[in-house]
Structures are given as structure tokens and as C-alpha cells.
């Protein structure tokens, strides 16, 4: 009897909660599984995820930067082109990492590996699985952001101690995309539908003031870009990287907090529909 105490206490807690059938406070088991799986198989994929923004930084920042010279930073100061686009690339990488985890990865585990099906026949509820997977994605995002920030430091692109804050800020951006991504993926049934996500992401990557300032656009397009999530991430990290803050900084952070809250509501609602039907 005693050996099962752990299981019982977790489920007794679950019973008292509003999310009883959805949550058993055991997301750490899902995290443990992810770490064990990462140990043996997916480290190569993870390394490639780290190099992608670094390669962009070398090609665009250093390569193209040599003909661009310096540009005006968020506070009006002159900074190198590489220092201008580096935080933007970090924001893109946080977005792509989260989207990859919560579209292709989740889609595969849900529809092909039947991994979640197995998990949900245990004491775990769908919310444990969702929280565990989001935590893993953020952990990975944290590793990438730390690595990329170190590269920025080595390349001399960091001029302010504030820049250390781009790491938690990148995790915040990843959280925003992750919480939405999982809810959206749950609607997808085929690989063709998964391609629609890329159709949305690529223009957002190219046009969210990633490589040049927003002021090049006519006013109407500026408003549209400012409504998109990536622009807020790019601006937030760019401001932090040079330690130049304004009231807009709070708006960018607020945008992601709202995105996270809405994304979790969407994902929970979808999990309820999918797994408790």
C-alpha cells in the first residue's frame, strides 16, 4: 500500500480542484520524461537550433553590416548594424523555437507517436502534459538565449549590463508563442495545414522591423506590424540590449503577458474538448 502513496496524494489533490479531470499536479513527470528523451536523441536538433540565429548574425550583421555601417539605436545613439539586428534575431529565434516545439513536435507526438495518448491513460491530466511541455520548451529557449547572448558578448555587440535581461525577456517571448502554438496545433489534422503556420511566420520574420526600422513603412502598414506579436519582441529586446527604456517597454511586456494568458485559456479549452470528449 505504502508504495502507492505518491500516486494517491497527487490524485486526491486533483479531486479537490476545479480542473480535477484535467490536472493532477504532476507536470514534473512530463518534464522528467523530456529531459530523459533529450539526453539520448534530440541533442543534434537542439544544437542546430542554437546555430541558426548565429549564422544569420554572421551573414547579415557582419557581412551586410560592413556595407551598412552604423545605424541609429532605440535611444537615438549610433550602434553597429550587427548590434542593431542581434536582439531582433534573438526574438525571432525565441519565436521559432517555441513554434517548432509546439507545432511540429506536438503535432508529431499527438498524431503519430501517440505519446500523449499513453500519458493520458495514467494519473496525468491533459493540463499536466501541457504545462510540462511548455516548461521544457522554455527551458530550451533559456539555453538558446543564454548561448546567443554569450555570442553577442564575444562579438562585442553588448554595450550595457542591462543586456543580461534579454535572456529572461527572450523566455517571455517564447512563452507567448508556446502557449498559443499548442492551442493552434490542436486544430491541425494534416501536414498541409501545418504549412499554413509557416505561411504566417515567414513574413512576420522578415517585416517586423527585424532588419530595418519601422519608419520605412507607410503609416497604415506600421499600425499593422505593430499589432503583430514579433514586432513587440524585437523592440523589447532591442531596447533592453542597449539599456534604453521608455513607456513603450511596458507595453511590449504587457503585450506578451496578455498573449500568454489568452494562449493558456485557448490551450486549456482545446485540451478539454480534445481529451474529455
Amino acid at each position: 500500500m505504502s508504495v502507492l502513496t505518491g500516486g494517491h496524494s497527487a490524485t486526491d489533490l486533483a479531486r479537490e480542484r476545479k480542473f480535477g479531470p484535467l490536472y493532477s499536479r504532476n507536470a514534473k513527470a512530463v518534464v522528467g520524461r523530456g529531459l530523459m528523451a533529450a539526453k539520448s536523441s534530440t541533442w543534434l536538433v537542439m544544437v542546430s537550433g542554437f546555430f541558426e540565429p548565429v549564422l544569420f548574425l554572421l551573414a547579415m550583421g557582419v557581412g551586410m553590416g560592413s556595407i551598412v555601417g552604423t545605424v541609429q539605436g532605440p535611444g537615438g545613439e549610433e550602434i553597429s548594424y550587427a548590434a542593431y539586428i542581434a536582439p531582433a534575431l534573438l526574438a525571432v529565434s525565441a519565436m521559432n523555437g517555441a513554434i517548432y516545439d509546439f507545432t511540429w513536435n506536438v503535432f508529431f507526438k499527438m498524431n503519430f507517436a501517440k505519446l500523449y495518448q499513453g500519458m493520458l491513460y495514467t494519473s496525468l491530466g491533459p493540463l499536466d502534459v501541457a504545462i510540462g511541455e511548455i516548461f521544457l520548451a522554455l527551458l530550451r529557449g533559456l539555453l538558446y538565449a543564454t548561448g546567443f547572448t554569450a555570442v553577442m558578448g564575444v562579438m562585442g555587440l553588448i554595450t550595457s549590463w542591462w543586456a543580461i535581461l534579454v535572456i529572461p525577456a527572450a523566455v517571455l517571448i517564447a512563452f507567448g508563442f508556446a502557449s498559443f502554438g499548442m492551442g493552434i496545433t490542436s486544430f491541425m489534422k494534416t501536414f498541409q495545414q501545418m504549412d499554413w503556420i509557416n505561411f504566417f511566420l515567414l513574413p512576420m520574420f522578415l517585416f517586423s522591423a527585424t532588419f530595418y526600422p519601422l519608419s520605412v513603412y507607410p503609416q497604415v502598414i506600421q499600425w499593422f506590424i505593430q499589432a503583430m506579436p514579433l514586432w513587440h519582441g524585437v523592440e523589447l529586446l532591442r531596447q533592453i540590449s542597449v539599456g534604453s527604456f521608455s513607456p513603450a517597454t511596458a507595453i511590449h511586456v504587457g503585450y506578451y503577458l496578455v498573449m500568454i494568458a489568452l494562449g493558456i485559456m485557448l490551450t486549456t479549452g482545446r485540451l478539454r474538448q480534445l481529451f474529455l470528449k
Binding site: 508504495v3 500516486g7 480535477g20 520524461r33 495514467t122 494519473s123 470528449k277
Partner: protein, 343 residues
Amino acid sequence: MSAGATSLLRVHNEAIRSPTPSPTPSESSQSGFDMNRPTVISAQNLTKTYGDLTAVDNISFDVPAGESFGLLGPNGAGKSTTMKMIGGVSQRTSGTLSIMGLDPESHGPEVRAHLGVVPQQDNLDEELKVRENLIVYGRYFGLPLSYLKPKADELLEFAQLTDKANSKVDALSGGMKRRLTIARSLINEPRILLLDEPTTGLDPQARHILWDRLFRLKENGVTLILTTHYMDEAEQLCDRLIVVDKGRIMAEGSPANLIREHSSREVLELRFGSERNATIGVELQGIGERLETLPDRVLIYAHDGEAALEQVTARGLRPMTSLVRRSSLEDVFLRLTGRSLVD
């Protein structure tokens, strides 16, 4: 509960050492009808519809603790849907369902803490090794590693996979994967084990190893709920079963009783060649209790199959092949639904 699981190995060892034979199937199937046992699963008027399709249509059954209970029926009969509702991963449209006194819909995690589930398709974690699969699955139940490590080794022994502990899952054969899935389902020492088509797709030898393992669990008092479309499996493993077709219960009872009630003692199988099978029926009228014409053969249900065969030859009919056999659950199903189980 832990006593039941540690005895897993003990029984295994005793069976090797002790000179007395282990209980025969008929002995333990009698124990399945002990009325003093508490009911662990109770379904009343259980119904599940998907849009216009009624997958499970108003079925009711009770399963006492320790019984081996089967759902026999063709693909699409509603067996898997019933299993999903028991596990609380599919919500019923109407009716009541109680697993160890709890409603799986509102107490899903708590009910599943007592359940072991072997799904129709293996869903082992391909990114983990064999032993890791057991330990990680146990963590999903919130069980501590101090319990899981020895338990995983014990279950690997039980599943005859000890030498594969550090192999990758995709290096295992179909039968090994199935045994690992069953071992995994036992990690939380479940009181009830749900097995959805446990031996589908396995070769005969792998099936017999699996049946042997399941039989040991049954001897240890685990309640088995299994779906199958194999009659021999149902006859081997089930104390009692329901025959399901199109979401409805067609009959209920022990395999022996169902055969007695719905079929004759013996069956004479005749083959006259695919052209004549259909037309020969008229000439065979009056022989045996009942006649069934299938595309490839004619079945004559009779108390004495040999006597029926003599009557056939006395009429001057010369079948290409003839076979006298005992009635099986396949015949019961054919009688009840007019269709074969495996189509």
C-alpha cells in the same frame, strides 16, 4: 496491493519449484463466479454517440473483483469505445459508469491510478530505452524512484525482457513490444487491467507466451477486462464475456455456457467447392439441428458430428473435405449476428 505485486514473482518461482501443478483453467474460472467479491466495474445503460453514429448502444454489465471479463465482437462493435469510457478518456453520452465506486469522468486521474491500460496499438515511448519506458511511465503516476527501480526490474523479469533492459524500443519484436506494453501497464500495481486486442498481429508462439503471462496476473487477483475478436483467446482467458455487435450486447455468459445455449455440441464443416457450397443447402435439409451456408464452406450444427456426416454420405453427397469439431464462440457469434467475427 503491494502484496499482490510481490507475489507476482513468488508465484512465478513457486510454479517452477513446487511439484504440485498450478490451477487449471477450469478451476480458476469457477472462482470467477464468487458472488462475495465486490463489484469493481459497474456500467448501466452506457451509451456513446458520435454525431449520427451510435458506437455504444445502451449496454449494462457488472464485473466483480478478480474476474476475467471479455468483450467479444468484430471490429467496430464498440469495444474500444467502451474501454476508453472506462479509462475516463472518452465521455459517455448517457448512462452511468462506476469504477471502484468512482465516476471516471469526474475522477479521471484517481480512477486511472488503479487502472493498467494496454491499448490496441502499442504506444511505447520510442525516444526512451526499454527500462526507461517503465520508470518514466511510473513517474506519470507520481510514484517515487525508490519504488520504481526495483519494480521495473521485477516487471522486466516478468515480461522476459531483462536482457533487453537497455535496448531501444524499436529494436524489439512485435511480441516483445506487446509484453513491454503489458509490463508497463503493471507499473502502478493496478487492480484492473484493460487489454484492448492484446494479441492481434502476433504469431502463435508470441500469443501463447502472452496468454501465459496474463494467466499469471489473473491468478494474482488482477481483474482483467479484455476485448478480442479471437474466439480462442476469449475461451482461454475469459471467465465471462459479453458478445457485442453494433454497440449492443447480443449475449452474456461464460464461454462454455454461451456455446451450450446458442450452439450445438459439435459442428460438421463441409466443403463442396466454391460453386456448389451455395446450392448444396437444399440437398442437406434435415441433417443436424441447423445449417449455415458460408461462401467457402457449409456448417451443420449437430449433437453428434460423425452421425451427421454419415447421413450426408448416405444421401450420396461427396464433400471435398469434411471436419467434425467442437462448437466455438465463433459459432455463437455467427448464430447471434448472422456474420463471421473476422471479416
